[in-house]
Amino acid sequence: MASSIDDLKSAIKKALPDLDMVIAWAAGPDPLSHTPLFITEEADIERIEWDPRCSQNLAGYLPGLRGKKVGIVVKGCDARSLVELLQEKLIDREDVTIFGLHCTGAVDARTARKALGSLRGLESVSIDGGTASFSVSGESKTLPLAGVLQKKCFTCTGADAEVCDHFIGEHGQPPQVTDIPATTLEELQAMSMEERLHFWEDQMSRCIRCYACRSACPLCVCQDHCAAQSREPHWVDQTDHPREKLMFQAIHALHTAGRCTECGECERACPMGLPIMTLKQALNLSIQDLFDYKAGTDPDQAPPLFEFREEEKNIKERDW
């Protein structure tokens, strides 16, 4: 990865004069997660970081910067969000310069912190094969990937940015993770309907309604005009009942149905660590069966709920 960061810096240096800004990652206050860096001057380029700690999906900034010439650095999953934004014509292809990278997997700051104990002296993180190496105060600590990666990386469908202007580094495969823990969706499938409702009730009673999931979601483009804040109709009321919080999650899942690329930002941003991407994963599985469609793969395709067929191949209606 060391060589690809130098290539990345030189590519950005070359492109920056023609752009209003470039969005990349830089070291932040938390040693396990890098923060976004908005580069407008050449001096800032030296601050760019690129390693498994660059977990934030930067594509979410693009709709708000429409009209400006923006360069953006993307991993494989971020590129799929970007393609989805292009599909929905929320950004203009000619205004965006994409620097694509091969991602070796993104570290989950929450679980990695637990696995490492103290973060003092954490210098670098790298992923090679089936293990993650953390260099702490000159010593190297090796941990299995299943314990430190974000859950979305276990089901990664492509670690390379497929749609990009400049591909930096070498193409490669998604991280090879062994001993993947059972997903929440699999756990739910083993439960009865009533247990599922109470599972969500327990989870949602921890929700603090901060709406970080919405703010982090690159496809939640309504932001300040969100249905959750509307008074007429009053979709969600102000009580902190788990029912209302689950209602909001249903709104989020249905508003991103057929659009969600499972970039995992909602779960990463959640301060309470709630498994809210599960709802979107369930919808995506069904959408793949129904419409043979995967969000964020083809910039020219329309999302399935934006159109219809008179004869739906895979929809079997109930015969009364």
Binding site: L185, L188, M193, E194, E195, R196, L197, H198, F199, W200, E201, S205, A227, W235, T239, D240, H241, P242, R243, E244, L246, M247, Q249, A250, I251, A253, L254, A257, G258, T278, L279, A282, L283, L285, S286, I287, L290, F291, P304, L305, F308, R309, E310, E312, I315, E317, R318, W320
Partner: protein
């Protein structure tokens, strides 16, 4: 209502104005006997149905939701029910994940002349929901309720 308390369940029907609402009317004019658990909401078109209507109905305590509109290709607005079909199919994937039995929600097509069909749809759907019983409810209330409950318990101690 009080007479039927405990015997009836709350089933919400979202019907399109042009076909199914008129179909239900035809069934009424024909004096077909049918279960009375269904409360009908009339809409201009099934394309008007936001899947969130159905989620909200379940969250507010409905035991079943039935959506009915014009047959595909017969939509008064040409294509409303084609969009609805896709949206409702996607909704079907969400409901079981949040703990709503898939049998509590169905969508179908009934035209204005199909009074007999309307009766069989309502009868079989009502039977299906009755077989599942009332929708399980949330155990706890708001955080305030939980605090008050804990305070009560400590006072008892």
């Amino acid at each position: 209502m009080s007479v039927n308390e405990g015997k009836e369940l709350r089933i919400i029907g979202f019907l399109c104005n042009w076909c199914s609402y008129a179909g239900a009317d035809t069934a009424g004019v024909g004096r077909f006997a049918q279960p009375t658990d269904l409360r009908i909401v009339r809409l201009p078109c099934t394309g008007r149905i936001n899947p969130l209507f159905i989620v909200r109905a379940f969250m507010n305590g409905a035991d079943g939701v039935l959506v009915s509109g014009c047959h595909p290709r017969d939509c008064h607005y040409s294509e409303g029910n084609f969009y609805a079909r896709r949206r409702l199919e996607v909704l079907k994937a969400l409901l079981p994940v949040i703990g709503v039995d898939p049998g509590r929600f169905e969508y179908t097509w009934v035209s204005a002349s199909e009074g007999q069909r309307w009766r069989s749809v309502v009868t079989s759907f009502t039977e299906q929901v009755h077989a599942l019983g009332p929708m399980p409810s949330f155990k706890s209330g708001t955080s305030l309720d939980m605090c008050l409950c804990q305070m009560d318990q400590t006072q008892v101690l």
